[in-house]
Symmetry: C2
Subunit: 153 residues, 2 copies
DNA sequence: ACCGTATTCGCAACGATTGTTGATTCGCAA
DNA sequence: TTGCGAATCAACAATCGTTGCGAATACGGT
């Protein structure tokens, strides 16, 4: 994501207004290197600007996604996550704790794809799923993901 | 996915029962080469067995996923899709019509990943996003995806 | 055939996200 | 500086996809 001041200009350029709420979000997202959900962004924004509406957060996130300043990720069932990093990178997803991290991957353009049949590729997303170092250490100590309670163990 | 008779055996082997509803789903999914949502599976099942509950469809889909007979995909916001093809393949997603197709990709193991830091990779998913041949032809003729109605054109 | 237990179904509930409406405020171009 | 249109908020309601719950039913090992 571009820095707040550039985003302000970009917003104005397409007829969107730069409100205090949006500025708070700009700055929060710009300084964020994780993959927050809308809910957690709202939480963080509320700390800085009490009373900011969740509705407003969604609105602005959608605008940023539409402008290509933010990437919306669907890595797990449930909520979307938003990635302020729009450079050419990919993702690591921990099956245990649900954590998401960025990785840089070489050789993506060298993938041999069979069966394209006229499909025009715009973006290639690579997602590695497995277990993160933290979860490997504690081995089930730090995991937040709960197992299926409907089936016996 | 394995054929219905093998699935029946597998279900019994782990203490799950083989009901008429499940047999319908087994056969429907086995003969399916697409990426149906739970809803559309329920629709197809209803044609064969009127009155089958959506709840039951979800239950069985979850069981199949847990057994590794079915792959659950999160490719777009909204509903999950289920892929009866569990062989080593990847996906093509059309941004316009939302269609999903299987592709076979070579060179995945040759990807150079930087920043793993102890992360243990279990699965690598590659998703190509772009425009399918059908949507390229008609160019907006066949697309089902609707643009954002809240913003002027 | 019997019986325990899984399964079914319908409905309610849930989390995530969007629509609505109306009053109020506020950004920003002219 | 002024005026218009946009944005916000509050307060809900609504939607979508999915799961929890409880009573009735049926599978399948013995």
């Amino acid at each position: 994501m571009r820095p707040p001041n550039e985003l302000s200009t970009a917003f104005r350029a397409i007829g969107l207004k730069v409100t205090p709420q949006r500025q708070v979000l700009f700055s929060l997202l710009h300084d964020h290197d994780g993959h927050p959900s809308a809910e957690s962004i709202h939480l963080a924004a509320s700390a800085v600007m009490p009373g900011i509406s969740l509705r407003t957060v969604y609105q602005t996130l959608n605008d940023l996604v539409a402008m290509g300043e933010l990437q919306q990720l669907q890595l797990t069932p449930g909520s979307s996550r938003f990635d302020p990093n729009v450079s050419d990178h990919h993702h690591l997803v921990c099956d245990r704790c649900g954590d998401v991290r960025d990785v840089y991957v070489g050789g993506v353009t060298g993938l041999e794809v069979q069966g394209l049949e006229g499909f025009s590729i715009a973006i290639t997303d690579v997602v590695f799923r497995g277990t993160c170092a933290t979860c490997l250490d504690g081995s089930s100590a730090t995991g937040t993901r709960t197992p299926d309670p409907t089936r016996p163990t």
